[in-house]
Symmetry: C2
Subunit: 222 residues, 2 copies
């Protein structure tokens, strides 16, 4: 084994910076498509995520076609109207003011799939906890998100979508699991706080309230 050299203080700071300044972005996308090589770098970052048994189950669909994005946007609109019905009064008003997707404003979207039935990895690590296949794909998404932030590219995860309708629009075969739909692109800027905090939906909780030591402690309950 050739040990890799350690990280400098400046490199370490950059890693913590990207983690702290990553945002879930749904507004302020610029109308400038990302160059292919940049999209390639982001997908390479995703592809090098950890995967159980080295099965690398993640599959990606880069969606640039305006008609397809329009169809996905309609799926969002329907799901979002139904979601709004579950809130009342002031909370409903707050919900309706939130901007929860940038499917059309961002010139490109990304659908992320997991091929969890794939035989690669020969089931290593998946016999007792088979859900680790899809977790591998989520690690890939977080890599993509962080790499994007460092390139000035905003990413927003859109989960207010009917998965059945989305699968149909994107022609996703039944053996692939739909994991995420993201909008991404150059943005005006990145806010210093999460949008949901800025617009009064929820507040972040203190780190101390989510840590236990040695065994789970009931005090760990924010």
């Amino acid at each position: 084994m050739n040990p890799a050299p350690s990280f400098t203080e400046a490199e370490r700071k950059a890693v913590y910076r990207v983690i702290a300044e990553r945002r879930d972005v749904r507004r302020g996308f610029l109308n400038a498509p990302l160059p292919d090589d940049l999209i390639g770098r982001l997908l390479a970052a995703a592809h090098s995520a950890p995967s159980v048994g080295l099965m690398q189950p993640s599959r990606f669909i880069v969606v640039r076609d305006a008609g397809i994005r329009e169809a996905v946007h309609q799926i969002f609109e329907a799901a979002n109207r139904r979601a709004l019905d579950n809130y009342n009064g002031e909370q409903a008003e707050r919900y309706s003011r939130l901007k929860l997707e940038g499917i059309l404003e961002a010139p490109q979207n990304l659908c992320v799939l997991c091929d969890r039935e794939n035989e690669r990895g020969h089931q290593l690590g998946r016999q007792t906890m088979p859900e680790t296949a899809v977790y591998s794909t989520v690690c890939a998404i977080q890599n993509f998100w962080l790499a994007a932030r460092s390139e000035g590219v905003g990413v927003g995860w859109v989960s207010i979508l009917d998965p059945v309708k989305l699968r149909k629009v994107l022609n996703i075969p039944s053996h692939l699991m739909l994991v995420a739909y993201l909008c991404f692109g150059y943005v005006e800027g990145f806010a210093s706080e999460p949008d949901l905090e800025r617009f009064g939906w929820e507040r972040r909780i203190d780190l101390k309230t989510v840590i236990s030591y040695d065994r789970y402690s009931e005090e760990c309950a924010p």
Copy 2:
């Protein structure tokens, strides 16, 4: 909104470097416990991961107690013996030579849980895709993993464990979902390739084989 300044070329390189040089580490742990403030930085990185509706559902148990780690290690040993039974001949031999955990060698472990029934976030984003709660927790794990790499700390995800037995040892209440068990600590070094590739278990696949454009393409099948 105060837009954050963009990343310098050097910062961007550090982000790609940490993504490329992160490894799943199960060997070479040093017998030197991590300082509390370092563990705190890693957990803060995890805690600042994206979460659906800003619900922040991730809960962490830092396991340092040797007796508890010994009990977890026994759970691994039993599950690993059963896993080995599923392989034959040369593959069984290869499997038995792999080092798949560092529960005892690493002076600390981390159990990661998801409080997916928590009302925080008021169900925003979880009505059509409720699985995004646990995905939020997996994003936290990837943040932890990358921050650790930049600090010279190796992390290994151990999924060869009986979840029921593990829950009992760590006193995890039924409403919390068990997501991951990690061993982590200072290490001798980081290999340049994944262990499973170095030891002939599996090979990485080409990025091009996992990307489709606009709609899923059957050619995207490695």
